[in-house]
């Protein structure tokens, strides 16, 4: 019993650590954006951390993640180093995408993190294809595709869930329903706002989860991932969440009330987990202080790395439009770590 209890506490500490890393990383990003170190579009995940932390908790190292333009959290939690993410946002040569992508296009093939897709719904077919490749090559992996409630209004969503269901592909469709498609409320986009119900129409196991409760998310994702690994085909989870910040750094946030935002902040997923861990005596204030200090050091290091990083030479502007080396016969490069395994 003691072992089980301590394993549970350990898992809670890990979830807390991941959510806090994302929160503190993005808070620093806001400062850096104000200081004009980071430019372009930047979309913050603050408030939604329980979704990424909970879902990724269910994944194995070689599982695949396809994400959206609000993907700092997913990337950090999947092990993309804070240093290379930050350098990417600085537009530096040592950024994970060599300064070609920025905040919206974090890629890290070695960690099977396939972006970073800034066309709403654009990552869904990629996830279906990655899962198809796994199935055809007899690899028992799960591909998680994160997307928002807005993507479910796109035709491509419906095509993809249908195709994945038809071919029983190992995809976990993780719908981050933060109640707004940019500035348009859920009920103004969808005639049927029960999104899980709509996914279920394709013959996919689908249910709603409290996306502010990281334990509930982790539990749901674990159940879904286990079923997918057992060959039960794609699953869909609708994770009801809320972003505390504006859609992007350009958004004046006119479409929702301050009261609504404040109400949701009372359900802050980090506060909620800390409270429950304290009640269970799984964490002390001293532990928390140590954790915060570790995270702060990680972010300081990321910022220092990005500051010192070189920029890509302009002479290299047109690199990576076409591959520089042919594929080895019978193998591949880049995404092809796969073929070797």
């Amino acid at each position: 019993m003691a072992g089980k209890k301590s394993a549970r506490a350990e898992s809670h500490r890990d979830l807390l650590r991941q959510m806090l890393r994302v929160r503190r990383f993005e808070e620093r990003c806001v400062e850096l954006y104000s200081g004009e170190k980071i430019r372009g579009f930047m979309h913050l995940y603050i408030g939604e951390e329980a979704v990424a932390a909970g879902v990724c908790h269910a994944l194995a190292t070689d599982d695949v993640v396809v994400s959206t333009y609000r993907e700092h959290g997913h990337a950090l939690i999947r092990g993309v180093p804070a240093t290379t993410i930050m350098a990417e946002m600085y537009g530096k040569a040592t950024g994970c995408s060599r300064g070609r992508g920025g905040s919206m296009h974090i890629f890290d093939v070695a960690r099977r993190f396939y972006g970073g897709n800034a066309i709403v719904g654009g990552g869904l077919p990629l996830a279906v294809g990655l899962a198809l490749a796994d199935k055809l090559q007899d690899r028992n992996r799960v591909t998680v595709c994160f997307f928002g409630d807005g993507a479910m209004a796109e035709g491509g969503f419906h095509e993809c869930v249908n195709l994945a269901a038809l071919w029983r592909l190992p995809v976990l469709f993780a719908c981050e329903n933060n109640l707004y498609a940019m500035g348009t409320a859920l009920a103004k986009s969808h005639a049927q706002t029960d999104l899980a119900l709509r996914a279920a129409g394709y013959g996919v196991a689908a249910w709603q989860v409290d996306g502010m409760n990281v334990l509930a998310v982790a539990d749901a994702a674990t159940r879904a991932a286990e079923a997918i690994r057992a060959g039960a085909g794609p699953h869909f989870v609708e994770l009801r969440t809320y972003r505390f910040r504006a859609h992007s750094m350009y958004d004046p946030d006119r479409y929702r009330s301050k009261e609504e935002i404040e109400q949701w902040k009372k359900r802050d997923p980090i506060d909620a987990l800390v409270a429950s861990m304290k009640a269970e005596r799984e964490i002390t204030n001293d532990d928390l202080a140590v954790l915060e200090k570790e995270i702060s050091a990680e972010i300081d290091q990321a910022v220092a790395f990005a500051e010192q990083a070189p920029v890509e030479p302009v002479e290299d502007l047109s690199r990576f439009v076409y591959s520089e080396t042919p594929l080895a016969s019978g193998g591949a490069r880049g995404g092809s770590v796969e073929a070797a395994s």
Binding site: G101, Y114, G116, L124, L126, L130, C160, R333, E338
Partner: protein, 325 residues
């Protein structure tokens, strides 16, 4: 031993069969490629030979199955995705442009997409506007893609394998009027980088590709009867364009007619014309002529459709004008 007589359609099928045999990462997917045998019967019999895992019928979901092809390529497969016609490829344009063509650059060189997309293109069969587009020029606008237009049975037979070996996405445009063309193909391999001089002449260069190559050759025959000898260039590769072959020919003939089944405005013909002006301006003895599809949605009625498209007489007339000036 001389090669057996075959058709463009059969040559393409044989190319797919060869690829499926050579590399078990290759599979074909698209609408009606399996049980139906392909809308243009290209894949007829392949389902029986290779089974439903490798010859995959898809729902009518261009965005999903083209995007899934991209994802499968990222995952180590070598997909051949068939889009029934270029007209429907617009439903997958986002995936082709924003993912297939873009991922390598946007990921700083991490994600190459070894995907082949085949589709039928072109007019001439009284199918009316929505089934008669020639949009390969649009795709040739996009950095990151390689665009092929096989105009001969040899190219239909031999372009697919090097396209599959290419680490980057390749789009193959098969003109719908060519499938029934028969002949005896020479054995491969062929390159997928250069244009081909299909006929040599000293007086004028006719530049064509895909479905208009045959028309340009017929026009060259007619011109020859009048004493005008034409170089006929079959572009074969629409992106990246083989400027050298074009410029060398124009350097010899000093006159050029560009034949393009796309619309004139903002077209591939405009790009080729500009490159000639940029690289061979002082070699030109006459203004460049263009023979393109009239700027109308392609109509149904036979006489209207014929009037809308580049035809042998219009190519001949354009060449005469260039030679006369």
């Amino acid at each position: 031993m001389s090669a057996a007589t075959t058709t463009y359609r059969e040559a393409m099928r044989e190319a797919i069969r060869e690829a499926l045999r050579r590399d078990d990462r290759v599979f074909l997917m698209g609408e009606d490629v399996g049980a139906y045998g392909g809308c243009f019967a290209v894949s007829l019999g392949l389902l029986e030979e290779f089974g439903p895992e490798r010859i995959r019928d898809t729902p009518l979901s261009e965005a999903a199955f083209v995007g899934a092809g991209i994802g499968a390529a990222l995952g180590g497969m070598r997909p051949i995705v068939e889009i029934m016609t270029v007209n429907f490829s617009l439903l997958a344009l986002d995936q082709i442009l924003n993912n297939a063509a873009t991922l390598l650059h946007m990921s700083g060189g991490q994600l190459n997409v070894p995907l082949v997309i085949r589709m039928t293109t072109g007019a001439g069969r009284q199918l009316a506007a929505q089934h008669s587009h020639s949009l390969e020029g649009w795709y040739a606008h996009i950095p990151g893609l390689r665009i092929l237009a096989p105009a001969t049975i040899e190219d239909a037979r031999n372009m697919l394998w090097p396209a599959l070996e290419d680490p980057d996405p390749v789009l193959i445009f098969e003109h719908g009027s060519l499938y029934g063309m028969s002949g005896q193909p020479r054995p491969g391999p062929v390159d997928i980088t250069s244009a081909a001089l299909r006929r040599s002449g000293k007086d004028i260069t006719l530049i064509a590709y895909g479905g208009t190559t045959g028309k340009a050759l017929a026009a060259a025959d007619a011109l020859s009867a009048e004493g005008i000898e034409a170089d006929v260039i079959d572009l074969r590769v629409l992106r990246p364009l083989d400027d050298a072959t074009i410029v060398e020919s124009v350097g010899n003939t000093h006159r050029a007619v560009i034949v393009d089944e796309g619309w004139r405005s903002g077209s591939l013909s405009a790009e080729i014309g500009t490159r000639i002006v940029e690289q061979a301006f002082y070699q030109l003895d006459a203004p460049i002529q263009r023979v393109c599809t009239a700027e109308v949605p392609v109509p149904y009625a036979r006489h209207l459709e014929e009037a809308a498209l580049p035809q042998v007489p219009s190519i001949v007339a354009a060449a005469r004008e260039a030679v006369a000036s």
